[in-house]
């Protein structure tokens, strides 16, 4: 039983190690406002065939197929002859302004640096994104979360089965649980 638990703990930990490191590092960056996330911006103008102003979604699909823009389609607005939309993924966002009178679109691409992308990965939840690749992050988040629970449960059982640190571990666990659970209950009951 102990051997099985140990292997399960090791497997869950190793599989999610990289993800958990990224989540932890980005949590640290956000908690302390550390510098690091940055982005660069480029703007291009492209010619657009006429007729797309009546169907912004079709226009977005055309951009993705013809110009390789990848991501979820969000923030679609139409102001007269101008259609504005954003196609975004963890590493970059494309802000598009399409003027149907001129049959041209201005595409402003914001590309995030490594730390910026790590930050977006931390916020990339859900497994029903339009852009299928973003769902990978959602699945990794789910697997890492389940791994955390498995790590916690197996860790506690393994600790208890070791006689060496039972008293000290019980004290430490009691303090931590008392601190955390009490505050959670107080917050939730409010």
């Amino acid at each position: 039983m102990y051997r099985w638990l140990r292997n399960a703990h090791l497997a869950a930990g190793l599989f999610s190690a990289v993800s958990l490191l990224v989540f932890g590092a980005t949590a640290l960056q956000m908690a302390y406002g550390l510098p690091g996330p940055n982005s660069s911006e480029t703007t291009t103008t492209i010619d657009v065939p006429s007729g797309y102003q009546v169907n912004p979604r079709a226009f977005a699909w055309w951009l993705m197929e013809r110009h390789g823009l990848r991501g979820d389609l969000v923030n679609v607005t139409t102001k007269g002859a101008v259609v504005e939309l954003t196609i975004q993924r963890t590493g970059a966002s494309h802000r598009v302004e399409y003027d149907s009178h001129r049959n041209s679109a201005q595409v402003t691409t914001i590309s995030r640096n490594t730390l910026g992308m790590f930050n977006r990965i931390h916020h990339a939840g859900g497994i029903e994104h339009q852009y299928w690749a973003i769902n990978l992050w959602g699945w990794m988040l789910l697997v890492s979360s389940i791994a955390l629970l498995l790590l916690a449960a197996s860790g506690v059982v393994m600790w208890f089965k070791r006689y060496d640190d039972r008293r000290l571990g019980a004290l430490v666990a009691s303090v931590g649980l008392g601190w955390g659970v009490t505050l959670l209950v107080l917050m939730r009951l409010h």
């Binding site: 930990g13 993800s19 490191l21 949590a27 990848r70 970059a92 303090v175 955390g180």
Partner: protein, 188 residues
């Protein structure tokens, strides 16, 4: 190192579970909120301006604010009563100070338990409101961030120094890192 890994894990058990629940909640987001209204006893101290009254209320009732009250959150409603909006770990809400009755009404758009855990996991000491409950919780979360990083590093280290020959462990690490790398390539 092993002892430290175990003790750190035991201390941060609650936070790790909160992080895990937040991750699961965000994978299957639901927008459910419950409207919740209650009235509590409150008498505004004399001599305070509107903002100070709001802060006094928050402090006395330990409203679990996610962040300090915004500058424009406090105002007077049509009945000239002090009103302020807030965002707590349980969701957004509004407080109306009913001065004649010496009471206050709290209207809350209460989040589900999963969303509450998501809000709680994001509490930081640097950004927390001056509410002792939240400050203590945020301190615990801050400690847990360091703990998570420590365990994510010490865990593989312990494996490498004790059982590096395990082929399936190497494959597991490579699989997790590989999947991360694949997702990175596809979404950068």
């Amino acid at each position: 190192m092993k002892r430290l890994h175990i003790l750190v894990g035991l201390f941060n058990l609650t936070a790790l579970c909160v992080f895990a629940v937040a991750g699961i909640t965000e994978t299957f987001p639901r927008g459910e909120r419950q409207a919740h209204t209650r009235t509590v006893d409150y008498e505004a101290p004399r001599g305070l301006d509107d903002r100070q009254v709001a802060e006094d209320f928050v402090s006395r009732h330990q409203v679990p604010l996610i962040g300090p009250l915004r500058g424009d959150a406090v105002h007077r409603n049509d009945e000239h009563m002090v009103t302020f909006e807030f965002f707590s770990a349980n969701g957004p809400g509004k407080v109306t100070i009913l001065e004649p009755q010496r009471k206050a009404r709290i209207d809350l758009s209460r989040l589900s338990f999963g969303r509450f855990m998501t809000e709680a996991h994001a509490a930081t000491l640097r950004g927390s409101a001056p509410v002792i409950t939240m400050r203590l919780w945020a301190l615990y979360v801050d400690c847990s961030i360091f703990s998570l990083l420590f365990m994510a590093l010490s865990g593989p280290w312990l494996w490498l120094t004790s059982r590096p020959e395990l082929w399936w462990a190497r494959i597991t690490l490579a699989a997790g890192a590989g999947l991360f790398g694949l997702a990175w390539m596809l979404t950068r």
